[in-house]
């Protein structure tokens, strides 16, 4: 008797879950509006990084080529950015961003004689890109290898950040006091190609943290909050050994930190600290946090070898929501997960490119559900031992579709188009490659 009740209960649970799932998806199906706005006739620009001396180093410069959405989705169509593309200004991998409608590329050159120079390219299809007549240099404020992203404010503003080389300060008795650099936060007017504002300040941690040698080494990946009155800036932490003055290779990490500054004044820096995640919040070469549909900011972490990457939540009061605990290791069932780049795709869904311990640096794509705190490796993509998303920068989100470029170093690959509501993967245009090179994104 008892048994059958249990069976019935289990059966009921399964059915309920099923019904819920069905009702959920039927909800989506009923709602014919796409998750994100659609731009008709949007260009899809692919960018490829060239090797310099070692395969995959991406230091030989960057080339771009643009195709229509139809061509990008067509697996019979081939794109060869290295033979047919146009080089963009940069002696190493360019730091590219694109306007939401794909009509403009924003570029800041990275290192070299003209490092730190901002310019735009009008996308005209194929290899036809028109460089803006004016360029501006942010090098005096943010250096020749600046870290920057554009804000999601209608493509009006880009924000670059920098920290000067942190310096050890001792007290009157020559005892270690703290290590600090001077931070710069700078706004670029993307439309008029001008620097529109900047601030420079030292950012202190708590006295206790500083005395142990913790300090902010770099800033990166600023994000504008929903209210549009604060910027949340990711940090990259380092630790000095207070006894020897040397930087420590391994150390016990503090809770993940971000800097919150007023916007648009860029003033009043405040440090916020998570008790959930311990990794850096800087990302690498592209966005690392996004305002979700629910108005909260979701932020990825890196470089926490012990716990792997987390997705952290910053609420609309601009504080970490420590009740939100989303470990990628737990969700994916791996150890030492590491998010190289990711992109919010609407309705609590995001896509991340990542690697993990034991994968020999191989990259994978995961679908993340930020509300359910679940993640799943995306199947239907041709994974390869030489696939490495370490320098990956660009996803395109257009309507219900997310575009991603997948090429192992030195091998052919494809654009993949993922249907955001269902997660269905479609193989798109073929990406022709050359030995040592890899594609770093779609824009």
């Amino acid at each position: 008797m008892k048994k059958s009740t249990l069976k019935l209960l289990a059966c009921g649970l399964v059915l309920t879950t099923f019904a819920l799932t069905v009702s959920c998806s039927s909800d989506d199906n009923k709602n014919t509006d796409p998750v994100n706005p659609v731009t008709d006739g949007r260009w899809i620009t692919v960018a490829g990084a060239l090797m310099q001396t070692a395969p995959g180093d991406g230091n030989g410069g960057t080339k771009v080529y643009s195709v229509s959405k139809q061509d990008a989705k067509n697996p019979e169509f081939s794109i060869d950015v290295y033979e047919k593309g146009t080089p963009v200004q940069s002696s190493r991998t360019a730091r590219l961003q694109s306007s939401v409608d794909g009509s403009t590329l924003f570029n800041i050159t990275y290192t070299g004689a003209n490092g730190g120079e901002f310019m735009t390219y009008k996308v005209n299809g194929a290899a036809n890109f028109t460089q803006s007549g004016t360029t501006v240099s942010i090098a005096q404020y943010a250096g020749t290898s600046p870290r920057w992203v554009k804000l999601f404010d209608g493509d009006k503003t880009g924000v670059a950040v920098n920290v000067t080389a942190p310096v050890i300060v001792q007290d009157a008795n020559n005892a270690y006091k703290y290590t600090r650099g001077t931070a710069t936060v700078l706004a670029v007017d993307l439309q008029n190609i001008l620097i529109s504002g900047f601030k420079q300040y030292e950012i202190a941690l708590s006295a206790e943290e500083e005395l142990k040698g913790h300090h902010i080494f770099r800033l990166d990946a600023p994000t504008l909050n929903k209210a549009g009155n604060k910027l949340i800036i990711g940090t990259w932490m380092r630790k000095t050994n207070p006894a020897t003055g040397e930087n420590e290779a391994t150390f016990e990490r503090l809770g993940s930190k971000s800097i919150v500054v007023d916007y648009p004044s860029l003033a009043n820096p405040q440090v916020i600290t998570s008790t959930v995640g311990f990794g850096d919040t800087s990302g690498y070469r592209s966005f690392n946090s996004f305002v979700g549909t629910d108005g909260n900011i979701y932020q990825a972490t890196q470089r926490d070898a012990k716990n792997g990457s987390y997705i952290l939540k910053i609420n609309q009061s601009n504080q970490y929501d420590n009740s939100y605990n989303f470990s990628l290791d737990t969700a994916l069932g791996v150890k030492g997960s590491y998010i190289d780049a990711w992109r919010y795709a609407g309705n609590g869904i995001a896509y991340a490119v990542y690697t993990h311990d034991g994968a020999n640096g191989q990259g994978f794509v995961a679908r993340l559900d930020l509300n359910a705190k679940t993640a799943k490796k995306v199947e239907g993509i041709a994974y390869d031992a030489d696939l490495d998303f370490g320098q990956y920068q660009g996803f395109v989100v257009d309507g219900n579709e997310l575009y991603i470029a997948v090429t192992p170093v030195g091998k052919e690959g494809n654009i993949y188009v993922i249907d955001i509501p269902t997660g269905a993967v479609t193989k798109g245009a073929k990406l022709l490659n050359k030995a040592g090179n890899h594609y770093i994104g779609v824009f």
Binding site: T164, A165, V167
Partner: protein, 798 residues
């Protein structure tokens, strides 16, 4: 191998044929001895110079008919025929004295002797003579860059940092020596920027294949400066002034009394503001909103000052020593640094200071213990210090003003100071370097050369601005020993010369890392010592053959190496470089082949033409291991043996003179430096395989014309006019071939006037007369049009 067997076969033949010596005495008709007259056996490469008593000896001539050509600057050239049919033949020759001293010819005769001897050994070598340049407003680096196959890449004007490229090889693979001692012993204050040509006897540039006596791990080539050696009583001094407030002065004196006691002294002082104008694509002031304002501006943080002195005392030409000199050398320099790798960010207040104190002992003796054994030893101890100072925290524009930000305030520099973090970095080094040589001449045909070079280097560094960190920086010691053995052979009346050599390199490095450990709750200071030893063998050959008396073919080849540097072995935390003690040396197979015709004389025309081809194939190049997810804050990566490269090319030189009045010389060099890493991990051919490396000038042409007038204003005076150009072909600066430099073609003019009595020489030089923008490095402009005036004073006998 077959070639060597062939060589030995013929050696035997020539050794078996009967041989004799010619001795004699050369006098002027007045019975005055003809000191310095040269005696050449026509049709062979044998020659001798008459000594103080007018006597000479030429050994090892096969029996037969010969003609001697005797020339002296004080007499008419004479030829004498004789038949050699006994072991020793004595000839006395009387020359007819002329009243018209041909100073220039004397210079030429002396030139050919040393230069010829080096050139004819079969190495690919430039011998640069400084005699003419010393009178003019020419720097040592200018002289080098005018010679074939040498590209000097300087980051601006006088005193700025220099990189040398020899036949496509550069950087760490080129070693520079002063009298065979590595130049690092003398520090940055005594280098090719500061030593004036007047203190240099000659410069030897060995390309690819390095003779045994210069033993060092010079993978791509070596530049050896021979300082003035003369033991005649003389005094010379000069001072030059010109554009950009440039002063260059020096003196050099030698005194020798009859007992052989010799005292030598020399000194130099150089100063320049280097405030030349720069303009163009890379020279702009950045407005507060980020826009550019292109300007023409004078460099404002580029002054350079160096001075140094050298005293040597001892004995020369005495029974127990040909040379025994103890020397003391001090030098000091101050160098402002205007910018880094490109001109786009001007610096203010960044400078370096260096000084060195060097003690040296020199001993040389021919017929040491036994006849035919020559012993030389040169020991040098130096203490050198260097400070790099960069503490100014603001950005500056090209007008030397603080760059202002959007709100009218100065902007803090994004790195903390001008180039990087704020620093007052001290580097103190103690170096002991010894070069010893034993040459044993078995007979005229066989010679054995043994050479040993020891180099020990200890370094301490600290940063005044981070005292805590500095007290925990490692101490580095390096010990290097290179042994080489060479066998030199001359055969067929000196038509064939061959030099086979082997070298053994050994390097030990030691690092002491201070650290703190906690034991029973107590902090304890300990030192962790790590050591490393690398040893390696190399070998090579150089050979020349006179097909006919005026046509020389040469070939040289070497398996050359470069030992890994201490940073590459132990790592450098400042550069996030971790140690790798299994690093092998870089290796390169180098080959040169050459052909030289001349000198031919047709009436008053005299010319020499030569050309050579070269090939360098280097592997196991030491490069930084690449990692994508490299966390620059925490993780580090080691250096590994990975890269391959190849350089292949040719050079040619032409020398022409007319009636000892017009002298023309030209040379050109063209090479391809190719990327030789062929496959990626999956066996696919890399896109840049076999492509030209970007940012390397690869086509250059240099030309010089000199015209000599005699008795032009005053009787017994001399006027020389000079013209010189240096053409550098265009080249791409990146792999993507977006940016290309323009071809460069600057011209220089000069004149020098020697007053009657030969004591005073005045010279005037105009450089880059068309005020062209010239670059050695991409985006770094060198000085434009400039004028210099120089006064030389020389007394040769007192």
């Amino acid at each position: 191998m077959r070639f060597i067997a062939f060589v030995f076969l013929f050696v035997h033949l020539s050794v078996w044929s009967q041989k004799g010596n010619v001795t004699g005495k050369v006098t002027f008709s007045s019975n005055e001895t003809a000191f310095g007259a040269s005696i050449l056996v026509l049709g062979t490469q044998k020659f001798a110079v008459a000594d103080n008593n007018g006597e000479f000896e030429i050994k090892g001539l096969s029996y037969g008919e010969y003609t001697l050509e005797i020339s002296s600057f004080e007499a008419k050239t004479k030829t004498v025929k004789f038949h050699l049919n006994r072991p020793s033949h004595n000839i006395n020759i009387a020359l007819e004295k002329t009243n018209d001293p041909k100073i220039l010819k004397e210079v030429l005769v002396q030139k050919t002797t040393v230069k010829k001897e080096i050139m004819e050994k079969g190495f690919s070598v430039n011998v640069i003579e400084t005699q003419e340049a010393a009178k003019r407003n020419i720097q040592t680096n200018d002289l080098l860059s005018q010679s074939a196959g040498v590209r000097v890449r300087q980051n601006g004007g006088l005193g700025s940092s220099v990189n040398y490229n020899l036949n496509g090889m550069s950087g760490n693979s080129i070693r520079i020596f002063i009298d065979g001692i590595p130049i690092s012993t003398y520090g940055s204050s005594f280098n090719l920027n500061s030593i004036p040509p007047a203190l240099i006897e000659r410069i030897e540039v060995y390309k690819g294949v390095i003779p045994a006596h210069l033993a060092d791990d010079a993978l791509g080539g070596a530049i050896n400066l021979i300082l003035k050696k003369g033991a005649k009583n003389s005094l010379s001094a000069s001072v030059s002034y010109g554009s950009f407030n440039t002063v260059q002065s020096n003196f050099n004196t030698t005194y020798r009394d009859k007992s052989g006691f010799t005292l030598k002294g020399s000194g130099f002082y150089n100063y320049s503001d280097n405030d030349y104008e720069v303009w163009g694509k890379f020279v702009y002031n950045i407005l507060p909103n980020g826009r550019y304002n292109y300007v023409r501006a004078k460099r404002f943080n580029d002054a350079y000052r160096s001075y140094g002195g050298r005293v040597e005392a001892g004995f020369t030409d005495v029974k127990w020593a040909d040379t025994f000199l103890i020397g003391f050398n001090v030098s000091d320099d101050f160098n402002e640094i205007q910018h880094g790798q490109s001109m786009t960010k001007p610096y203010k207040g960044r400078f370096s200071e260096a000084d060195a104190q060097v003690i040296s002992v020199n001993y040389a003796k021919k017929d040491f213990i036994v006849k035919g054994l020559e012993f030389t030893v040169n020991s040098v101890f130096s203490q050198r210090n260097e400070v790099v100072n960069d503490t100014v925290r603001w950005n500056y524009n090209w007008f030397g003003e603080k760059a202002l930000g959007l709100y009218g305030d100065p902007i803090l520099s994004p790195t903390g100071a001008q180039q990087g973090a704020r620093t007052i970095q001290h580097l103190d080094s103690k170096i002991f370097s010894t070069r010893g040589g034993l040459n044993y001449t078995l007979n005229d045909n066989h010679k054995i050369v043994f050479s040993s070079m020891l180099y020990t280097f200890g370094r301490n560094q600290f940063d005044e601005l981070s005292p805590l960190e500095s007290s925990f920086l490692p101490t580095r010691n390096l010990f290097k020993n290179v042994l080489s053995l060479a066998y030199e052979l001359e055969a067929f009346d000196s038509k064939l010369r061959t030099n086979i050599f082997g070298k053994r390199y050994e390097q030990q490095t030691e690092q002491r890392d201070p650290s703190i450990i906690t034991e029973n709750g107590q902090n304890k200071y300990i030192e962790v010592i790590s050591k490393n030893t690398t040893s390696f063998y190399g070998y090579g050959i150089a050979t020349s053959y006179f097909v006919v008396p005026k046509v020389m073919a040469s070939l040289s080849a070497e398996k050359a190496i470069r030992l890994p540097s201490e940073n590459e072995i132990f790592g450098n935390p400042g550069e996030n470089l971790t140690g790798n003690n299994s690093l092998k040396p870089e290796q390169s197979d180098n080959l040169n082949v050459g052909l030289r015709f001349g000198p031919y004389k047709i009436d008053n025309h005299k010319f020499t033409v030569g050309g050579s081809g070269f090939w360098r194939n280097s592997k196991d190049k030491i490069v930084r291991q690449f990692s994508n997810r490299l966390n620059e804050a925490l993780q580090t990566s080691p250096a590994v043996n990975l890269g391959n490269a190849q350089s292949i090319g040719y050079e040619a030189a032409l020398e022409y003179s007319y009636n000892s009045k017009l002298f023309v010389s030209m040379n050109m060099s063209k090479f391809n430096s190719l990327f030789k890493d062929k496959y990626d991990n999956n066996g696919n051919i890399l896109p840049y395989y076999n492509q030209q490396l970007p940012n390397e000038p690869y086509f250059t042409v240099n030309g010089n014309v000199q015209y000599n007038f005699k008795n032009i204003v005053q009787k017994n005076s001399e006027l020389n006019l000079y013209y010189n150009f240096g053409y550098v072909g265009e080249f791409y600066t990146t792999w993507l071939e977006i940016d290309k430099t323009t071809a460069q073609f600057p011209h220089d003019l000069g004149l020098s006037y020697t007053f009657p009595g030969k004591k005073f020489i005045v010279s005037f030089d105009a450089k880059n007369i068309t005020d062209e923008q010239v670059y050695d490095n991409f985006a770094v402009q060198k000085p434009g049009r400039a004028f210099y005036m120089k006064l030389n004073y020389i007394i040769n006998k007192f």
